[in-house]
């Protein structure tokens, strides 16, 4: 059997689904009622996400 890109994508989808199932079972439950405002701009809330450019301790 010749492997095609379809097989690779199927494997990737399986891994991502497994990652998300694992994540949901090992994380704080999702709560849309405690979600931040739709847009950070104009929300009055400080940016709280993590970014690759953030230096340690910043």
């Amino acid at each position: 059997m010749t492997l095609s890109r379809t097989h690779g994508v199927i494997a990737l989808v399986v891994v991502i689904v497994a990652l998300l199932v694992f994540d949901l079972s090992h994380s704080a439950p999702l709560d849309p009622f405690r979600a931040p405002a739709l847009l950070a701009l104009g929300s009055g809330q400080a940016a709280s996400g993590a970014h690759c450019a953030a230096a340690p301790g910043s």
Partner: protein, 381 residues
């Protein structure tokens, strides 16, 4: 009777086309359903971030806007078109991001990081590795989404490298780091435009005169990428990034497997421990990363481009892919970002480390382009 036979034949001939149309509709419906389901389950912001990621993935794959490929084209063929498109997109983002960051400094943050020994070395190594696998931070995700086997193998090692690089980041930065330096306000924006213009002029001079052009496809791509990157900033409060999310995926797994990350100076710090405790579906870069993969997949499936056979590569090429994947992740953490987080978002939000990253990574790319055939990832030229 003849009529019936003709109708049957026509119906049979049109069936594959009709199936393809239904397949495309199903793809779009599935994507919209996922976005809406996430918005309902986790919050509207997170659904919107997934949508932005999907649109970025579709744009990068559909309009062939990238970073590693255009740098390679400039090095090998002196074709500057892709680099011109990158500079245009960065300038467009900067034109809006600078004023936004100045007026909403509490709500929005730039991709600001200090310059240091490890940062420069990390960017140099990243430049080598991204040419070996021909995929940068965003490119590896997009290529994986479109079924590229090298990217599919490199991606998990990219994530492991990102996790390890972050775990060791404090030690590396302690080797020597300058104070944070950023460009701000109107003067900063003017200097950013001048710098981008200088690079464009330099690239123009070095380019083959027959290649000195910016195709309409890339102009449209640059506009869309800039718009979506600004969307990321406005929605998330932070610029577009890639590598943090990949490391976080491994950190979650390691934590669940019993690894004591609390003792690690990076992953054990309050902000990152909080991210590990929360779902990836509420993490900005994880969502846009998943979107990049999904958007590229949609375009590849839309074009029926997933039927290409996987090429037979020698063991050396696969070993090089694994090592390059690890290097991509590890080095991008030391460099405070990849082509997206450091180069694109760093420069467009005023961080001087983005400029240094560009120079170091391009120097690394010149070596990486030469290494790729030696590692049997392509026919020798």
């Amino acid at each position: 009777m003849a009529h019936l036979a003709h109708d049957d034949r026509e119906s049979t001939e049109h069936r594959p086309q009709r199936n393809r149309v239904w397949g495309r509709i199903a793809l779009l419906l599935a994507a919209i359903t996922l976005v809406l389901a996430l918005a309902a389950a986790a919050g509207a912001r997170f659904g919107l971030l997934l949508l932005i990621g999907l649109a970025l993935g579709a744009t990068l794959e559909g309009l062939r806007f990238g970073f590693a490929g255009p740098w390679r084209a400039m090095i090998l063929r002196r074709d500057p078109s892709g680099i011109f498109a990158q500079l245009l997109a960065i300038a467009l983002v900067a034109a809006v991001a600078f004023p936004l960051l100045a007026t909403h400094s509490g709500e929005l943050i730039g991709a600001h990081a200090p310059i240091g020994f490890a940062m420069v070395g990390g960017a140099f190594v990243f430049g080598i590795a991204m040419q070996v696998v021909l995929g940068c931070g965003s490119g590896t995700l997009v290529n994986a989404g479109s079924g590229n086997p090298v990217a599919l193998v490199a991606l998990p090692f990219f994530a492991i490298g990102s996790f390890l690089g972050a775990a060791h980041l404090n030690w590396w930065t302690s080797l020597g780091t300058l104070p944070l330096a950023t460009l701000e306000g109107g003067a900063g924006l003017g200097l950013t435009f001048a710098g981008l213009g200088l690079i464009a002029a330099f690239v123009w001079i070095l380019a083959d005169r027959h290649n000195r052009r910016l195709p309409r496809r890339l102009v449209i791509a640059a506009l869309l990428v800039a718009l979506l990157a600004l969307g990321n900033l406005v929605v998330a409060g932070q610029p577009w990034g890639v590598v943090y999310g990949l490391g976080l995926w491994i950190a979650k797994g390691a934590s669940a497997a019993g690894a004591d990350l609390a003792a690690n100076p990076f992953w054990g710090s309050a902000a990152h421990a909080e991210r590990i405790a929360q779902s990836l579906l509420t993490d900005v870069t994880s969502l846009t990363n998943l979107g990049l993969i999904g958007g590229a997949f949609i375009v590849a499936a839309w074009r029926a481009g997933l039927s290409q056979p996987i090429p037979h590569l020698p063991a050396l090429a696969w070993a090089a892919t694994i090592l390059a994947g690890l290097a991509l992740g590890y080095s991008s953490r030391l460099a405070f970002g990849c082509n997206v987080g450091a180069f694109f978002s760093g420069i467009s939000t005023g961080s001087l480390h983005g400029w240094v990253w560009f120079v170091a990574a391009f120097a690394g790319s010149i070596i990486g382009v030469r290494l790729r055939p030696l590692l049997q990832l392509e026919a020798r030229t």
